[in-house]
Subunit: 202 residues, 3 copies
Amino acid sequence: MLLYILELVGIAVFAASGALVGVTKRLDIFGVCVVGVFTALGGGIVRDVLLGIHPPTSLGSWPNLGTSFGLSLLVFFLHSTVGKLRREILVLDALGMGLFASTGAVIALDHGASPLASCLIGGTTAIGGGILRDVLVNEVPLLLQRDFYAVPALLGSALVVAVSEWGSGTDVALVVGTVFASALRLVALWRNWGLPGPRVVE
Amino acid sequence: MLLYILELVGIAVFAASGALVGVTKRLDIFGVCVVGVFTALGGGIVRDVLLGIHPPTSLGSWPNLGTSFGLSLLVFFLHSTVGKLRREILVLDALGMGLFASTGAVIALDHGASPLASCLIGGTTAIGGGILRDVLVNEVPLLLQRDFYAVPALLGSALVVAVSEWGSGTDVALVVGTVFASALRLVALWRNWGLPGPRVVE
Amino acid sequence: MLLYILELVGIAVFAASGALVGVTKRLDIFGVCVVGVFTALGGGIVRDVLLGIHPPTSLGSWPNLGTSFGLSLLVFFLHSTVGKLRREILVLDALGMGLFASTGAVIALDHGASPLASCLIGGTTAIGGGILRDVLVNEVPLLLQRDFYAVPALLGSALVVAVSEWGSGTDVALVVGTVFASALRLVALWRNWGLPGPRVVE
């Protein structure tokens, strides 16, 4: 139950981040909502397509759709206020990323994917929405360029798989993975970590 | 039978619109054909992937492939003439959109998707090709920016689901949904409707 | 066995080409690896999604992932040297393309796809990775613009289907298709073949 609420929080935050990007790109109200909903649900849809869950869960879920749509509308109308909450959004976004990485990995294991595949599918669930968002608005995905974002997602999802395989039960795995991935992301934001770019030879 | 012919008309029109964009981007003859075929068949392929129809119907259908390929070639060679038919193309394109929204929703219902999911999958079938086209040629999808295009698609597809659920049979639902979505789109074009963009605070 | 090694060679070459593009775009080390891995495995993942193989084979295969990840890292650190091997890379890339087209078509036939669908899925396997790479880094896919690349892939994959259907056995089909597609691509590179672009009317 707590998990379900947290997942909706994750969806809400991802929708807000997507809608904010849409506003920046001056899309109309529908475009802002589409980008917001895609960012929020895209990772889960890609996960379900990879696992053969037809049709993807999110497409039939009123709470998921309603939450992401409502948040996108809210951002469209209040975007100047939301823009000032950048700090709070980054924290919630880190939590959402951790949750999506963990639940993605657990769902993949449940559907009989191998540990390696589950770890990758968990990571994809966490970062898929953000990549879709940036491709839709015609940007090179942000997380490919600079952010220490996908590494915590993959590590969190690997941790979930490891803990599950060691037989500790899904709940423990979910909590450990989410906390680890989110905390790592927050530390990275706080210390301004980045990954090295290619050395350019003049 | 009439429906099948109309669907081919829809495919032909979508192929022409995609190929025209390809010509504008100065792609070579193969690129023009790929963009045309993708625009025409992309929505249906995404629909089939979401519903778990493997492999997607269009990939095994000579009429669908032949029509979209032929139209793309035609546009490549006659693009200056086709460019003058912009008005006629917009009308046919509205018809194609309505048809794809309706057939997509009916196919989703047939494959056991929930009403909500069917409505969204119908809308995706109608707008998926256009989004793929714009992502391929590196543009922010047009329909996210200004056009009153996705709203009629979603409403038409919702109408199909509603009529089907009320037990009126698939044929009635298809006709009602197609006419409604296409007419709404045409009215929007005629009256130059658009959706509001975000208010920009200086 | 030989085939398996050749497939890994194909993956390695595609990973290198993707990672080189990532370096050119100044992505960080993780971004370079993601683009490299996507380019190498993307075609196969799209193939498996279209055929309903869940989860896609590559996501559970250590050799495929390790090879593409290792090559991407190598390119990240040695990109100035790798950049000088452009000629050798083009030759290996032609081989990889031929192999992916052939194996994609055979796998599609094995999963009960029709000859037409198998031919298209084979072609998609060969060119899918490159298209994903260019969409990710926000370029109009190179092979839509100029390169005589997709035509050999489609012809090779059609040849595989034809030979298989004529009952000559999968092995013969694989060899014939790979050799034909790769050779055609190499000749095109050597003679600098291109496809005509649209005639622009002033």
